[in-house]
Amino acid sequence: MQVLDYVSAGSVEEVVGLLASNNGRARILCGGTDLLVQLRENRRRSGLLIDVKNIPELTSINYDDQSGLWLGAAASCHAICHNRFVLEKYPGLVDAIRLIGGVQIQYRASMGGNLCNASPAADSIPALIVHEAGCIIMGSNGTREIPVQQFCVAPGKNVLQNGEFLLAIKVPAVKENFGAHYLRFIPRNEMDIAVVGAGASVTLDKAKQKILSARIALAAVAPTPLFVEEAGTFLVGKEMTEENILEAARIAQATARPISDLRGTEQYRKHLCAVLTRRALEKAVERARAS
């Protein structure tokens, strides 16, 4: 493993300066649960690791009814899943975050790291997409914000430019009659990578019958986490009937373009897309009705 130096940064400004002065040699270290393994296996290189876990803005978790949820990029999965606002307002996010590794990983791994690692199978990303999350990116010219579905560009690659890093993930405040859910299929009970994952969210009208908006996103069926906008658009204005849910699931299935690998064949993954999308939608509606 090639790491020549390590620094624990004390402020956002310090990180910006270190990234600029090291010109592409430096990498951000959060929990290290992906990065240290990749460095050890020479899949990534770094001359300098910048530990951002000691910067308050990067580990803070804040919520208010106006601006919604702020998740510092280095906040651990454990901290997020034990935050009372997250537990109360965002059960659909908790579904996904809880799936990331065992307890030992949960204490270290961050949601920001899960996003930056840009795995097509990352569990948290479809859940963030259906919550309309945004990425706050910091660079030498200040911050910019992009929708989370634009963050990953290829397996292991994200939109961050030289000198930029992920500061936080922002999730809008939850609307009335909103519900979301994420689930995945793995061949055992725990500790595995998704064969397929599916996230869904719905906002219902006052009578909780008609769909005002819906979002569906899939994991492990494309080079990046896949936002299936068409499936959500199809549901707008419709009743939540079994027929409509099945049609949305069929659209998601048709949009997916999975590969065959050791976790599953293309055909099997296609099949799972429909099953999981249907289940994710049903649970999202159940939560919206109970809200």
Binding site: S8, G31, T33, V37, R40, L49, G102, V103, Y107, R108
Partner: protein, 160 residues
């Protein structure tokens, strides 16, 4: 010669100071520099839990923590579990239930179980199984381990 960094930390209640390279994991430094060989190197990539230690109250895989990251922090390893008065209840119950065969995973399981009981003194069987999902044992089939942890929880709840 790579640059070395000075690190000060508290390990098993004792102040320690050591030099390490930034690339070295906590596991490597515990075993190679500090002579604490209780934490085991199984997979060295965060899958097996054999290297578990408690870092400032949090259960972690020491193979996925850089030694430089523990500067100013508090680490408990398997060597810090027993007291001069005797073994920890978890250690006693692992022996009583024969919850080990080769023993390689045991330090990790004890640390993981301690971290659980520290925050949840009377877990259900399901909670124990969920919590220990990040620790692999290739000998016992887990059942004896789960029973040992549940039994230790009962002993801890009713101190002598």
């Amino acid at each position: 010669m790579n640059k070395k960094v000075r690190v000060q930390a508290t390990i098993n209640g004792e102040e320690v100071e050591f030099l390490c390279e930034p690339r070295q994991s906590l596991l490597e430094v515990l075993r190679e520099t500090l002579g604490l060989t209780g934490a085991k190197e199984g997979c060295n990539n965060g899958n097996c839990g054999a290297c578990n230690v408690i870092l400032n109250g949090a259960l972690v895989n020491s193979c996925l923590v850089l030694a430089v990251e523990i500067n100013g922090r508090n680490v408990t390893t398997i060597e810090g579990i027993a007291t001069p008065q005797g073994l920890h209840p978890l250690q006693e119950k692992f022996i009583a239930h024969a919850a080990l065969q080769c023993g390689f995973c045991t330090p990790g399981f004890i640390l993981a179980s301690k971290a659980l009981l520290d925050q949840n003194p009377s877990p259900s069987e399901n909670e124990v199984r969920q919590w220990l999902a990040g620790n692999l044992c290739r000998c016992t089939g887990y059942d004896r381990i789960v029973r040992a942890v549940l039994d230790a929880a009962q002993v801890q709840e009713k101190p002598l």
